[in-house]
Amino acid sequence: MEDVFRHQGIIHKIARLYFDDPTEREDVFQDILLNAWRSYDSFAGASAFSTWLYKVALNTALFRLRARRVARRKLDALPEAGTSVVSTEARDDAVLGLRSAIGVLDDLEKSVILLHLEAKSYREIAEITGLTEGHVGVKLNRIKQKLKARMAPQEESDGD
């Protein structure tokens, strides 16, 4: 629990990345906490605890996203939340614009850009996502292009 306490920011970052609704974020925070506790035996110490916690957090978030999509298909309506809505916590315009642009990325792209922004190396990103280091590089280039393209019109309109 001490380890989780020190790295709880990771859980919040993943929750914020994929979920906009505060209630759902809290739910996913608790799910990640529970999964980290239940699967702690699988932490062999081969990598840093933070890397392992990123994996647990990401897998839990993906599980929840999947469950939500299945439930939504059952309802067969409603647009998907959490993909384009901007967090109200982001106060600064730059962050707001960035979060908005990240919001439209797919699940994998979101996790790759978050880890990159967290200054993780290609090797660490590959270890967490399961991609190869080469694929991480390819993905990141595409994501950067997407983000630039998406943020450019916003910056132009801001400059007017």
């Binding site: 980290a36 506790w37 699967s39 699988s42 897998n59 299945v70 106060r91 962050v95």
Partner: protein, 194 residues
Amino acid sequence: MEIEDMKKAIESEDTPVETSRSVDELDRILRARARLFRRGTARRFVLELAGAGLIYLLVLCFVILSGQPLASFHVKLLAISVAGLAVLAAAFGRFFVLTRAEIMGLPAREHLDRMLRRQKRLLRFYSVWAYAFSLIFAIVFWDDHSFRALSSAWKAGTTLYLLAVILMTKPYLNLIYGRQIRALEEQLRSWDIK
């Protein structure tokens, strides 16, 4: 905005208040969540077993309604049903409680891949289980002299019922688990480099 500016922008964002939870608070949250998880898992088990137990209940109704002296037959039926449900409960318990915890710390792509394979394996097991127990029921029915002594209508009805169970197994599994598997496949596809 360049990527370095993005990093700075993210770093400059205020840290949310909820990140400052104490160890005690995290421990309390964990205990409450674990309780909720146990309750949810128990409810899921009950639902799964209720579906499978329905087969036994219908057969029990048949035994009672037939008005025949089928006591020994009933005991055999009960023994098979209990054994069958125990096997099913163990398989589901292993999948929902142990498997998920075992693979939670894997890299995301590997996690999705393993989850999909295990979910498919569980469904195959469920199908085989349903077919095997329908077959065992049929053998026990036709091997029992008191059952054979029943009228043709009862025997035909029972055979049709077992046939219906076999035929309905696949559509039932698709209905309950098909969407989950498709969602997993979709998520896994998005992990591939295009």
